[in-house]
Symmetry: C2
Subunit: 676 residues, 2 copies
């Protein structure tokens, strides 16, 4: 809990001595969002604890079970009585140090129900509920108590008994190691078990179910209770022996969140997940955080994916001093702050992803003089980005972790890309279980101590912890650009990028790595394709939010290219963001205002279908005039036949202008609105 100086108390704390007589009758507690559109009901019945959610007078979640199953004990959630009830309203703006939206309003009503069992064990459980105008959060707290000290959560009983069998976009959990799939669309009743966020679109509202503030707990997946139901039940990612969470009182669960909005597009303008995370610890705020800087980066990376280079040492080695300097030279001439060098260290020989890890985290590979490269970069005002690929060997990595960050700190490296390539962590742990959650927290903490920003791939899904840990910048956790270039040649479909902002993107920044300009890499990857046009690639810099945004193609593919000036201009830190229009899997238009100038940027993308869109520019300052620098698909552009066809057009616009965008198949439009 944060300091309460800004709390507006409107409820009063009731200290009720629970009596059995009281407990065995049903009682109901209510909470509504500040705008009253969301109504939350809690029912305390002898057979359990239940909640339900209405939105705009319509049932959204029917009566749904809450509770925890403690290993070796009765379910915690039945035969409960109220000890104490506490309501409050909170309404404050807060500032993101960096982000897609500088000022965020955090406005909720909260209900705390401190409960005690009426049975002999008298275990205590607190349920905390918050209702925002854009959704709800609920969490369990287990206070310190005699009959519950160290314990194992065998199952979390939380259910989401959805009121409608609506269209659902989801990723299958447990099918392989993680969420690097293209999304499935089905009826809710055809879902099996899914990662969160899971996005549902009914006729009168859209929902996204996810979690916030995942700390020392297992990630949540959602399993359909049984066929032909509409009830999703929390299925925590287990330890190898089936334990879900190993913990001790006092503890609190992550928030279970339901974002609610009239349409799917509105979910993108919700900051519920961030609002349900804690502000940074005070000591973090007083520390020197000047190393934390959003920015664009390039890297020795795509050339491995398209088969021109290799991560391994040898004749095709990508990580060389000379090649790194080429990237640094290009970055220095452009607004690109960092250069990543994958394969920079020892241990990448051969099929490194198939064996126990052999990486040395403080010894550069032969052929790369990292000291010279960092010196060269520093002289040119470019930062080198470190890389800790663990090959999913967490124990092995942690033995070197602090020394590895030390090594980077000494070299002046303040940004690291993490990697956890492998089917299981340490051989038998899921990537999303408590083991990995706790490991990754140690990474973030150690990195902060060494003044390092973290960009993690193949890690736990984001739950908004960047609010608390501002060095936790971005992560992958998506089927990214690499699938378009890499082997096997099962690239993403053109609609993939029109789905992920509505789903994965709701969890937080996404290191999707856009920016491919050269669509002809057939020498080594004859059957692969980036399924978009060049203008679509530009638009992704606005559509997909990440504070560290890769400029993914090779410098020689950008050199002298007129369209590159959009990438040069586009910021990675924003004053405000607006998802303007879109439908999941169809198209999306997003506008964002630069944090350091009055300029706005707009990105519009479509799926495999070309389409015309009318966009009102009413987000612009009504008193100002702008030059719109428009990067759009050429008349004959088409992701398949002519992806590199684009044109640049300049025109004067105001907030009263309506632009007509003409997106070609797999196409897009990227616009810089430069204020006069």
């Amino acid at each position: 809990m944060r300091n309460g100086f800004s709390f507006i108390f409107f409820g009063c704390a009731l200290a009720l001595q629970a009596s059995l007589a009281h407990a065995e009758t049903a009682s109901r507690y209510s909470l509504s969002s500040p705008d009253k559109q969301i109504q939350l009901q809690i029912d305390l019945r002898p057979d359990g604890l239940f909640y339900q959610v209405d939105y705009a007078g319509r049932a959204v979640v029917n009566s749904s079970r809450l509770g925890l199953k403690i290993k070796g004990q009765q379910a915690l959630g039945e035969h409960l009585a109220l000890l104490k009830q506490h309501e409050r309203e909170y309404n404050q703006n807060w500032q993101q140090p960096w982000g897609e939206q500088q000022t965020i309003n955090e406005h909720y009503r909260e209900l705390r129900l401190e409960l005690i069992e009426t049975t002999a064990s008298q275990r205590r459980l607190t349920l905390v509920l918050r209702a925002f105008n854009d959704g709800i959060g609920l969490r369990y707290e287990i206070p310190a108590q005699q009959n519950l000290t160290q314990f194992v959560i065998e199952d979390e009983l939380t259910e989401f008994a959805l009121a409608e069998n609506s269209h659902t976009w989801w990723l299958p959990a447990y099918r392989n190691w993680g969420p690097e799939y293209q999304y499935l669309k089905s009826a809710l009743s055809s879902v099996d078990v899914a990662f969160t966020p899971i996005t549902l679109e009914a006729r009168h509202y859209a929902l996204a179910i996810h979690e916030a503030a995942l700390v020392n707990y297992a990630s949540m997946t959602l399993r359909l209770m049984s066929d032909n139901t509409k009830t999703l039940k929390v299925d925590l990612v287990p330890w190898p022996n089936g334990d879900k969470v190993r913990t001790a009182a006092p503890m609190q669960s992550p928030w279970r969140t339901i974002q609610i909005a009239p349409k799917a597009i509105d979910l993108l303008n919700s900051y519920l997940t961030l609002n349900l995370n804690e502000a940074p610890a005070p000591e973090s705020l007083t520390a020197d955080n000047s190393y934390i800087k959003p920015g664009k980066y390039m890297g020795i990376w795509w050339e491995m994916h398209i088969g021109e280079k290799d991560w391994s040492p040898g004749p095709k080695q990508g990580a060389t001093t000379a090649r790194a300097k080429e990237y640094i030279d290009f970055a220095a001439q452009h607004d690109i702050s960092g250069v990543l060098i994958e394969g920079w260290n020892k241990g990448w020989e051969g099929e490194w992803w198939k064996r126990a890890p052999t990486f040395i985290f403080d010894e550069p590979v032969v052929g790369l003089d990292l000291e010279e490269v960092t010196r060269y970069a520093r002289d040119k005002g470019v930062a080198i980005i470190g890389h800790h690929e663990t090959a999913a060997g967490v124990t092995y990595y942690e033995q070197q972790m602090d020394a590895a960050f030390d090594y980077y700190e000494k070299l002046g490296i303040h940004s690291v890309k993490m990697g956890y390539v492998g089917t299981r962590i340490d051989g038998d742990q899921w990537h999303h279980g408590q083991y990995m959650v706790n490991h990754f927290q140690r990474v973030v903490d150690s990195a902060a101590q060494h003044k390092v920003m973290v960009n993690a791939h193949e890690t736990v899904t984001d739950t908004g912890l960047r609010r608390t840990y501002p060095n936790l910048m971005t992560r992958e956790c998506v089927r990214g650009m690499e699938y378009n270039g890499g082997s096997p040649d099962t690239g993403n479909l053109p609609d993939h990028t029109t789905i992920i902002p509505f789903t994965r993107g709701l969890s937080g920044p996404t290191d999707f790595t856009p920016g491919i300009f050269n669509f002809d890499y057939k020498k080594h990857r004859p059957h692969n394709r980036v399924p978009s046009t060049l203008a679509n690639q530009l638009a992704l810099y606005v559509v997909i939010y990440s504070p560290l945004q890769m400029v993914a193609d090779l410098p020689e593919n950008y050199a002298g290219h007129p369209a590159f000036q959009f990438i040069d201009h586009v910021p990675t830190d924003w004053k405000q963001s607006r998802a303007l229009q879109g439908e999941v899997g169809e198209y999306l238009v997003v506008a964002r205002q630069d944090k350091r100038s009055p300029d706005w940027y707009l990105g519009a993308i479509t799926n495999q279908d070309g389409r015309q869109l009318k966009v009102k520019l009413d987000f612009l300052d009504p008193k100002a005039r702008y030059e719109a620098q428009i990067y759009r698909d050429g008349k004959d552009a088409d992701w398949e036949t002519n992806p590199e066809s684009y044109e640049i057009k300049r025109m004067n616009v105001t907030a009263k202008t309506t632009l007509e965008l003409d997106l070609k198949p797999g196409g897009g439009t990227a616009i810089r609105f430069k204020r006069h």
Copy 2:
């Protein structure tokens, strides 16, 4: 194989003595469709047998493995040499005794490759390939031979290495007992394991993979080889011990079929599956088949689903003499040839689907005088439709099966609805394994001997066997109308009916049971909805093909309703059918010509989105004039708020007319074109 009198031989039989030297070099065989658009290549290499498919100059299936794994033996498909090669072309029209299309052209080129192992075991395998203009079929034959007599197929090695990662509509296999799901749409690379038909839509073509002539074999499911591949591999539904097929030489597998068309809509105009089934046995053709009659039927059925009546005996018992007579009276006044009475026999008490079956198949339940009912029906020119619900107890059922059909034959009942409700057949068998395939064949055979038409629910997926067994009329194998009324309230989404004709519908007739007129059954099912308008319900009689088409609502909901005249008029047996336009999950327009009149009928349906469609009537006889009797959504129709709003309009049209259809959300248009 059928008699060869009509074969056009253009290849010549080559009797090659296989030699090791020949075998260990690669050899290639080719086959093209009559129009040359489809090219099939077979590669015989030391490491195996492979095929690939091109369509219109584009790879559709890359080199893909063929073969069988015999239990306790080496894979059969490697180290093979050619013994004999045989090519032919076949081009004949044939007539369906009933169906969606009276005359079907069967035109293919065939390649038979008789192969022998070059290893000591010298097992023989014949591969038969047929290329039609609308797709391909391939099957394995194992001729009688010394080293392979009785054997178990442990795995079928057939792969479909698809060339593109395209959008795929699929149903998960093995998740519960069968295919009663709403379809999932995903990238091919996100498929897990799917029932067939599986429908794929790439930019330049659409595909459906399925099988034809499934006899004494296991149903095929398709499993993605591993994550991020585009290769589906056959995964035969197993026996409880893991065996896939228990068989003996000589034997032949079902055909593995790939329908190929420019667009998904064109798949609906393909008869590949039927063309890969055998003509009826001569003795079947000379038998009296006059009992086989397509037609509409009503039944004591929907009132159970909406909770007004019950299958069980007692106060809510649906199956009573009086109620049956009400249905018969209504049917007799209309063009409805049959009346089904579910719960007609003994054994339906309580939760019959949860216990071992207790049905008695020749004793009516107390309260239903079946002899009186059949007499009453016969006097009125209506047929009673029998019902054999087995509760998935096949062994129990087969002990009574012949007697049960005898009983019906004596009563003059010539149509039976079969049911296999239960999670496993006989406790441990999948609904789609060889055990059930063989059982169901015995049902069809026994029914034919007793002059009974079969309509089966919860059975093996259709593979076109109705061509060979003309008493095998229709089946469910779909998430039908019952899900909209039944409990739990996870009804179908409005787009469901716009998906199933492109997927499930490709396998054969679908007993979806349309025709709901009363959308207010909230007394017992307050949360359920039929997600369509009334005009959409009418259109389903044309859009979804079934020779036995249910008129699913209660007679009192039809009585005096002006829109019922469309159901009265619409035929169930057609001279020809044309899928005119549509997109999977979006909309569909189908026209069919009555077999017994020059009239045409048209059905158009949409998903949750209203839309306007222009339909050219160029399928009509250009020399004729027609009255179009149009049943369309009312101006304010909407599946959710006003489903019963419709209007009837009459206008004169010719083949030159273009109609503009205005479909409301969840809506449709049904038209009878009555020739002047």
